[in-house]
């Protein structure tokens, strides 16, 4: 009860304080003579936002870049040692390879399945469509740790001869084979793909919702025109619908890619990076909170930031092109 009252008071206090702040800023800028007022006002009004961003975004980012050139306790500079150590260690190279695998496979498959489900759900009756979409979207509502817990029970392995708790192994043993150690199959990185399934399971709903809205937004006239011109269903889909929903596909692709680059909880909960499943996000967590090595952790994050920049540039350019085309 106390917590609810506290929460309400915080919200009221926060909103009220923001209102008072802007009213004050307005009054202060009103004290300046005419032309100055017009010049100063924009800076004043974005002052709270800039302060918040610099305190919580710019300052930590700069601090992290500095720490990546310092030692594990952040007490002395070490130059590029952290980067050298990371990039030359076979473990980290394997981690980078795994992360790359995730980045290549998961966004593409998410869009693929999202599109298929969106198109198929579109053809159901409205009632069936709603139910199908809700069911597919549901996994997004649970945390990655929750998803990991669910899938632990699907991949669980008990020694042969023991009753199997895991769903996959129950099926396999009922078909007459020995139980398989799913999460330890690492020669062809099969276990990484099994972990990717978990993330797909959660993200396909998100892709489906956005793509479904985009598909429904395609003007019917273009589809009719294509049919009149003699295109079959598949050509309509690939040549008419998809080009028109391109902005949405790109948005979903970029969002899922950034999510995949940061993937941590799924891998941590399932294997903690053992059996060649380690990814960059998990390694960062272990460097910072298990090894207490600030230098390595900061270097990993900086490498991740550098890797994300091209994607962000691409995204911003797309956005600007869209704005100009409007």
């Amino acid at each position: 009860m106390i917590k609810t009252i506290n929460a309400i008071l915080t919200v009221l206090g926060g909103v009220g304080a923001a209102l008072v702040l802007y009213w004050l800023l307005n009054k202060i800028s009103g004290l300046f003579p005419g032309r100055w007022e017009e010049r100063i006002k924009p800076y004043f009004f974005i002052l709270p936002a800039i302060s918040a961003i610099s305190l919580y975004l710019i300052y930590p980012a700069v601090q992290t870049i500095e720490f990546s050139f310092a030692n594990s306790g952040s007490t002395a500079w070490v130059g590029f040692k952290n980067y050298r150590e990371l990039l030359t260690s076979a473990d980290f190279q394997s981690t980078l390879f795994n992360t790359l695998l995730w980045i290549i496979v998961v966004p593409a498959l998410t869009i693929f399945f999202g599109l298929i489900i969106a198109v198929l759900a579109d053809r159901l009756r409205p009632q069936g469509e709603k139910i199908a979409k809700t069911v597919i979207f549901l996994p997004m509502a649970i945390s990655a740790v929750g998803a990991g817990t669910v899938w632990r029970f699907i991949y669980a392995t008990n020694p042969p001869g023991e009753p199997q708790v895991g769903l996959l192994n129950e099926v396999v043993t009922k078909l007459g084979h020995q139980p398989v150690n799913w999460l330890q199959l690492s020669t062809g990185r099969e276990n990484s793909f099994l972990l990717m399934v978990i993330m797909l399971w959660a993200q396909v709903g998100f892709a489906m919702v956005l793509l479904s809205a985009a598909i429904k937004g395609v003007p019917g006239e273009t589809l009719e025109a294509a049919r009149i011109d003699g295109a079959n269903e598949r050509q309509i889909f690939t040549r008419v619908v998809i080009p028109q929903i391109r902005p949405t596909i790109i948005t979903v692709f970029v969002t899922v890619t950034i999510t995949v680059m940061k993937v941590f909880d799924t891998v941590y909960v399932m294997t903690n990076g053992d059996f060649n499943t380690n990814v960059v996000g998990n390694q960062f967590f272990n460097e910072l909170f298990t090894n207490f090595n600030n230098g390595h952790a900061a270097a990993i994050v900086v490498l991740l930031m550098i890797a994300i920049i091209p994607i962000m540039v691409f995204q911003v350019r797309q956005f600007r092109a869209e704005e100009a085309a409007r």
């Binding site: 800039i50 961003i53 700069v62 150690n181 999460l183 294997t271 053992d274 909170f289 090894n291 090595n293």
Partner: protein, 460 residues
């Protein structure tokens, strides 16, 4: 109306675009200025020794106790301490967390120290004591009385530079081997008294067509720790306490004859075909809580399971076994290397340390935690073992717990779990992971030992 709107629209759009560009320019300039300011002011690194010296200066009767365990264990512990605290007029704020190691560092860096903290691992406690963050307990507790009451070696675990900083409050015993009592007796097996006898028994059971061992090291993100316990027990019993401590401090490396001998014994037990339920390939996916389940089938799927006393409680062995545990389960201590040498015991536990040297209330609570019958009500619930040899053993709920506790009380010395004492990057990192990789066949023994050595932080 429509026509005028059509005329106004482009003008409006153009005005908005101009404003947007203007705002963007202003925004961009502001961000640039801020970044430069931030760069200039954040150029300094953390000063070494910048962490506030001297701990907590609290002197009031309201104290905060920070613990590394949650759930039932926490509730039981709270119920043990609260009545005494109330009788002394002391108010306790409890801070229980499952991620103690991460949180304690954050709190120290944020200068937000508790008054008492129960450390699950001595490594961090020793580091803090060396930095003068903790108060020595030599003047707070009655050391001579403790020395005679507590199991030999339990005080050493919390001693740094000759002074006591960590008081062992609860103890778990790890050098234990559980066995199915009725089946053992029926087959006529005797409890082995030395390691060679243990290996002979293993061979005997295997050659009669049965599987001697259950072994499982899976534990989600912590997979591999039971394997490290096996190594620690083997090194401790084969080499003795002094050389064990030298190994824990990295004076004896992992790539050394002592450790390789332990690895050879472990390989013989775990990798010989027919020795372990499910064979070598299922060890890394067999969860340590349920790995012993085959033991309770009839006929038993295995005859021995090495694990700490905590599996003999709800959540570990099956419930129907726990309810009749004295008839179904027996336990003996991991045997010594020879009959007349050292008989040490490996274990762990929570150590209480004091951050507030001037707080009488905190000192009173610590003194209470050091009394010989502390934890009696907790013990009756089944997962608490007292480190005091003169603890009233009728508080233990069954013979299995009592026998486990006596393995520790009768041992020649108590050695704290090695991986809990090593630096985090090894003890919670490479030791776990490389052992798991070796056991599941992804790495050779040589590679694994060399990698663990290489991961040891230099000059930490």
């Amino acid at each position: 109306m429509r026509r005028s709107l059509a005329l106004v629209k482009p003008a409006l759009v153009k005005a908005t675009l101009v404003k947007l560009t203007f705002v963007r320019a202003v925004f961009g300039k502001a961000v640039a200025v801020t970044t430069v300011v931030v760069l200039l002011t954040s150029g300094c690194l953390v000063q070494s020794g910048g962490i506030a010296g001297g701990g907590n200066s609290n002197t009031s009767k309201t104290i905060e106790i920070m613990l590394g365990f949650t759930g039932d264990q926490f509730d039981a512990f709270k119920a043990t301490v609260e009545p005494y605290a109330k009788s002394q007029g002391i108010k306790i704020k409890w801070a229980a967390t499952a991620n103690f190691n991460q949180l304690i560092n954050t709190r120290i860096q944020g200068r937000n120290l508790p008054d008492i903290a129960m450390f699950p691992q001595p490594g961090i406690l020793k580091g803090l004591a060396a930095k003068n963050q903790l108060a020595p307990l030599d003047d707070v507790l009655d050391l001579p009385a403790l020395k005679s009451s507590m199991t030999a070696g339990t005080l050493d675990a919390g001693t740094v530079n000759g002074k006591l900083y960590g008081l062992l409050v609860s103890m778990n015993v790890k050098s234990l081997i559980f066995y199915p009592k009725p089946a053992f007796a029926n087959a006529g097996y005797a409890v082995p008294k030395t390691i060679p006898e243990l290996l002979t028994l293993t061979d005997k059971i295997r050659s009669s067509g049965k599987t001697p061992w259950c072994l499982g090291i899976e534990s989600a993100a912590a997979t591999g720790w039971p394997a490290t316990d096996w190594f620690e027990d083997l090194i401790l019993h084969e080499q003795g306490t002094t050389r064990y401590n030298a190994w824990v401090n990295h004076q004896i490396k992992f790539d050394s004859p002592e450790v390789k001998q332990a690895a050879a014994i472990f390989s013989q037990i775990a990798f010989t075909p027919g020795n372990v339920v499910g064979g070598r390939k299922s060890i890394a996916s067999d969860n340590y809580n349920t790995a012993a389940n085959p033991m309770f089938k009839s006929p038993p799927g295995c005859f021995m399971y090495k694990q700490g006393n905590f599996v003999a409680a709800p959540g570990g062995f099956p419930d129907n076994v726990i309810s009749d545990i004295d008839n179904k389960v027996g336990v003996f201590g991991f045997p010594p290397a020879t009959a007349n040498g050292e008989d040490p015991v490996l274990g762990g536990g929570d150590m209480a340390a004091l951050f507030s040297p001037h707080d009488e209330a905190a000192k009173k609570i610590l003194r209470y935690m050091s009394t010989k019958n502390f934890g009696a009500s907790d013990a009756r619930l089944g997962n608490y073992i007292s480190p005091h040899k003169d603890f009233d053993q009728s508080n233990y709920p069954n013979n299995v717990v009592r026998d486990a506790a006596n393995v520790a009380y009768k041992a020649t010395s108590f050695a704290f779990d090695g991986s809990d004492q090593m630096p985090g990057v090894v003890g919670s990192g490479s030791f776990w992971k490389d052992m798991t990789a070796w056991i599941s066949g992804q790495m050779s023994e040589d590679q694994a030992l060399k990698r663990i050595d290489a991961s040891w932080p230099s000059g930490s």
